[in-house]
């Protein structure tokens, strides 16, 4: 392995080592993504928790509202989306927690690679492990709540576009509260206002599809939110993490 030391001279100008090249940043992204996925799969028993929570929340609705099929059909779009949102938010809490506790977060902050990219890798890993299963289970739960067949595609698509926004924006909230002992409740207070647009357009698209109306507008808006979040949220989350580490 070749040494990468910059030449050290006793006097004279020092050549500063150039910052990491873009390919290095991609490699760091892939490496951190891989590490987080491996860590998640080594704790396989915890993988099912968000999905189980989602299922339990959905069963609460018929129990609370009564088993009237028409009523359930009317509330199904919103109920499924609220359940997915809550499951996503609850699972987000741990995204930086273990790294903060064992000192890995400081190493990430001291990385020569851009921190937003590393944060993006962690959020992607989290979404793959929790968001995707929620999306796969959602149609099943829609069935439980008597969601019309016409709405299933919209449900999956809106969740596909919406859950990344929930993960990305949620990461900002978690980054701000990672240093706090009991940040859980505060996190919900911080995140819920920011989640409102995603919920409105996500549930709205499913509702429209259930009534046979076009859903393109809502999906476009969700797409815009998703793009905006992918571009901006990692920077905000990285800044918030640096502040939490002070």
């Amino acid at each position: 392995m070749s040494s990468q030391d910059a030449p050290v001279t006793a006097a004279g100008p020092r050549r500063r080592r150039p910052a990491a090249a873009r390919s290095d940043a991609l490699r760091a992204f892939a490496g951190l993504l891989r590490r987080d996925l491996v860590l998640a799969f080594r704790r396989r028993s915890e993988l099912a928790n968000p999905v189980l929570f989602f299922v339990m929340v959905e069963t609460l609705f018929p129990l609370a509202l009564g088993a009237d099929n028409d009523l359930l059909r009317a509330v199904a779009p919103g109920a499924v989306w609220v359940g997915a949102l809550l499951a996503s938010m609850l699972s987000l809490e741990g995204i930086f927690r273990s790294d903060f506790d064992d000192g890995s977060l400081e190493q990430i902050a001291l990385s020569p690679h851009p921190m937003p990219i590393l944060v993006g890798a962690k959020v992607l890993a989290h979404w793959l492990v929790t968001g995707l299963p929620l999306i796969l289970v959602a149609p099943l739960l829609g069935l439980l709540l008597n969601l019309p067949q016409s709405a299933f595609a919209a449900l999956v698509l809106s969740l596909l576009l919406g859950t990344p926004v929930l993960s990305l924006v949620g990461a900002i909230g978690v980054a701000l509260t990672v240093g706090l002992r009991h940040g859980g409740m505060l996190l919900s207070l911080l995140l819920l206002p920011l989640y409102v647009p995603v919920l409105i357009f996500g549930a709205g698209s499913v509702e429209s599809a259930a009534q046979g109306l076009p859903v393109v507008a809502q999906l476009y808006f969700l797409g815009a939110l998703c793009t905006g979040a992918v571009v901006l949220a990692p920077f905000a989350a990285a800044a918030a993490l640096r502040i939490s580490l002070e």
Partner: protein, 244 residues
Amino acid sequence: MHRFISQWASPRHFYRLSGKLLPWLSALTIICMLVGLVGGLYFAPPDYQQGNVFRIIYIHVPSALLSMMVYVVMAGAAAVNLIWKIKMADVVARCSAPLGAAFTFLALVTGSIWGKPTWGTYWVWDARLTSELILLFLYLGYMGLRAAIETPETAARASGILALVGVVNIPIIHYSVDWWNTLHQGTTISFTTDNISTSMLVPLLFMIVAFMSYYAVVLMLRMRCEILDRERKSRWVVQMVEGG
């Protein structure tokens, strides 16, 4: 310009200058509020649609306006603190937050009071009221985060980031709630008719100015307290407290 900024950015000068400004601003507040209230409650004619109920706008509209303006001021001050590390900007943000929350709460309460005779219920999910409710949560989140973090500088910076994320999201939230409201056929509410007559408008403008200067007065009072607390070990504070 630089001297102007550096004067206001220094706690000691701010304390002195605000002390001079306060009597004038307080007088302005009282006068405008008297003119606005008397004009609005007594002189303005009853609305042909809503009767006397509409008069709540003289409190509701300035409150709602201020609630949003204060959030922007708070976010702007937080940004100044994050970028240029001017501590006075953080004092502005910290002291503005409870005021903004109070204005938001006032807007919600007056909106609800207005709702009872008009819609028959104390609450309806109108687009504007829903936006105000979410804004209240944004304020409470800011204050909660600030209170939860122990180190003051870290708390200032973290809540600054939250305020900036919030201010970017407010237009998005507002638009999405608007859209949501039209979709669900919410009651269309207009607090005022389309062409508002001058005799109704003028007191309203006075009330808006009154609320703004009220915000300035209370903000300065709170900031003066905050400055005394933060600078309690510095010589000028000690001299002022002991010398009298």
